[in-house]
């Protein structure tokens, strides 16, 4: 059973539909018991980082998510869900995240190389490329994904993992090159929405449902 963590933020039904489309069995839950018995977990989310962490804390879900990640259960964070995996974010002042992947979340507009005439949020289709040092996406959620194919992004902050080994794919927008997919062991984060990225995104969902990551 794949459990989509319901912490009140995000359109969970679209993620559910995409997983079911790829043959997965899904439960949407905010119950720590369900999360503890899930085979795989999805942490979705749209909205802001502080609201996300507060929502997880209020529902008593932080501990069990971290436990399950340490247990080696495949955990996929989408959009805000990816950002919450990191150590901290500067959104609305500094807020600590789940700390599952070392790194920070910061505003696109604060990046030195960003072309300020470009719009934020970054909304639209952007291509995914392999990070230097990554020979192959085999064995990851991007297995079989065509390098250069586009996925759908909508965000105002971007993730910077501390360790280059945790960067699986990057993308480009407004002169900026930044992390599109971060992965550390069984924990993966996608800045884009795989459930809204056409057949390219469904490939990633398929890998999540049927693979061991």
């Amino acid at each position: 059973m794949i459990v989509i963590v319901d912490f009140g933020l995000g359109n969970l039904f679209n993620v559910q539909r995409a997983i079911e489309h790829e043959g997965g069995e899904v439960l949407i839950s905010n119950n720590s018991g369900a999360i503890r018995s899930a085979e795989k977990l999805v942490l979705p989310g749209v909205g802001n980082f502080r609201a996300g962490m507060t929502a997880l804390q209020e529902r008593g879900l932080v501990g069990c998510l971290i436990e399950r990640a340490i247990d080696g259960i495949p955990l996929l964070g989408i959009c805000l869900g990816m950002q919450l995996l990191m150590d901290e974010s500067e959104e609305n002042g500094h807020t600590r995240g789940l700390g599952l992947i070392p790194g920070k979340v910061s505003y696109i507009r604060n990046q030195r190389t960003f072309d300020q005439s470009c719009k934020v949020p970054n909304v639209g289709w952007r291509a995914l490329f392999k990070n230097p040092g990554i020979d192959t996406w085999q064995g990851s959620l991007l297995e079989g994904f065509d390098e250069g194919a586009d996925c759908y992004f909508v965000h105002s902050l971007c993730v910077k993992p501390d360790e280059s080994g945790d960067e699986l794919a990057y993308t480009r927008y407004g002169g900026l090159q930044y992390c599109a997919v971060t992965r550390r062991g069984n924990v993966t984060g996608c800045q884009f929405h795989p459930e809204k990225s056409g057949t390219a995104g469904l490939k990633i969902i398929h890998n999540f449902v049927h693979g061991d990551k």
Partner: protein, 296 residues
């Protein structure tokens, strides 16, 4: 300019009345073209970047009626969907998001209730909150906002309104020229350029595309971040889909006419598919997502 670095989105705009896809001129005089879901599927398969559904008579009835169409589309189409028309409250937004929409477009309700922008942005995220602006040029050359699907004046200056909604947390602006809408004469370049320059958030240009060149121009010259397109796409598909004969809404004669296009529009509207439009954009050095249409 941004179009050299960033992919530009092509968003088919589907205006819905009852159960039918309709197309108007200046947002009125609606003609029935077919079933919204069937058009949406074909656009998805053809490589559309997003879909936009507008309920054209919602503010007359005080609600948005597209939930069934939204649910069916969300079950089959894996690209973002924006829904607008008669959205009045955070609860309305929640209902549409639960039905499968990713974003909502709101216009009329904001004039009585401008803080709705912040409330929706706070509850669901700024990316969900698309402010829809229906603009008309007035006697002294200024642009003013209209509401109720182009039926009512507000006297509010478009550029002041843009500043206001951006300040309150709007994620994107859907900018429709009521003067150009449905005419095939091209987008209102002056309007789009001014708003695109002013707003730090993405601006989706809507209203007036009659030829592929118009779409190229509004991106390259006016700086639109995305384009909403209706007539040129719908008229390309109009022969191919069935329609709901039982519904009495809209002008059915248009659909039944062989060839399906009135003489005065025939010369101005260059029917085109999503693929052909994107190919034209690429030929003009505009980057856009190619291929990877939905499953056929």
């Amino acid at each position: 300019m941004s179009e050299a670095i960033n992919k530009i989105r092509v968003i088919p705009r589907l205006d819905v009345k009852g159960t039918n896809l309709v197309k108007g001129v200046h947002l009125e005089g609606l003609r029935v073209l077919g079933l919204p879901f069937e058009f949406a599927m074909l656009y998805y398969q053809g490589g559309a970047d997003e879909l936009l559904y507008m309920d054209t008579v919602a503010s007359l009835f005080g609600r948005n009626n597209l939930h069934d169409i939204v649910k069916k589309t969300a079950a089959n189409v894996y690209i973002p969907m924006t829904v607008g028309g008669g959205v009045r409250s955070v609860d309305d937004v929640r209902g549409l998001l639960n039905a499968g929409a990713d974003k909502v477009a709101i216009n009329t309700a904001l004039f009585a209730n401008p803080e709705l922008v912040s409330r929706v942005a706070d509850a669901f995220g700024t990316q969900c909150m698309v402010v829809s602006i229906e603009a008309v040029k007035v006697a002294d050359g200024r642009y003013e906002c209209l509401t109720d699907n182009g039926r009512e004046k507000t006297g509010v200056d478009v550029f002041e309104w843009v500043d206001r909604v951006v300040g309150m947390g709007a994620g994107e602006i859907l900018l429709t020229s009521v003067d150009r809408e449905g005419t095939g004469h091209g987008y209102d370049m002056e309007l789009v350029e001014a708003v695109a320059r002013q707003a730090p958030i993405p601006v989706i240009a809507s209203g007036g595309a009659g030829k592929r060149q118009h779409v190229v121009d509004v991106i390259k010259q006016a700086g639109a971040d995305a384009v909403a397109v209706a007539s040129i796409l719908h008229y390309d598909l109009v022969g191919r889909v069935s329609h709901d004969e039982s519904s009495g809404e809209g002008n059915l004669d248009f659909k039944k006419r062989t060839g399906g296009m009135q003489e005065q529009l025939r010369k101005r509207i260059e029917p085109t598919s999503v693929e052909e439009l994107k190919a034209e954009m690429v030929r003009n050095n505009i980057d856009t997502r190619m291929g990877d249409g939905g499953p056929r």
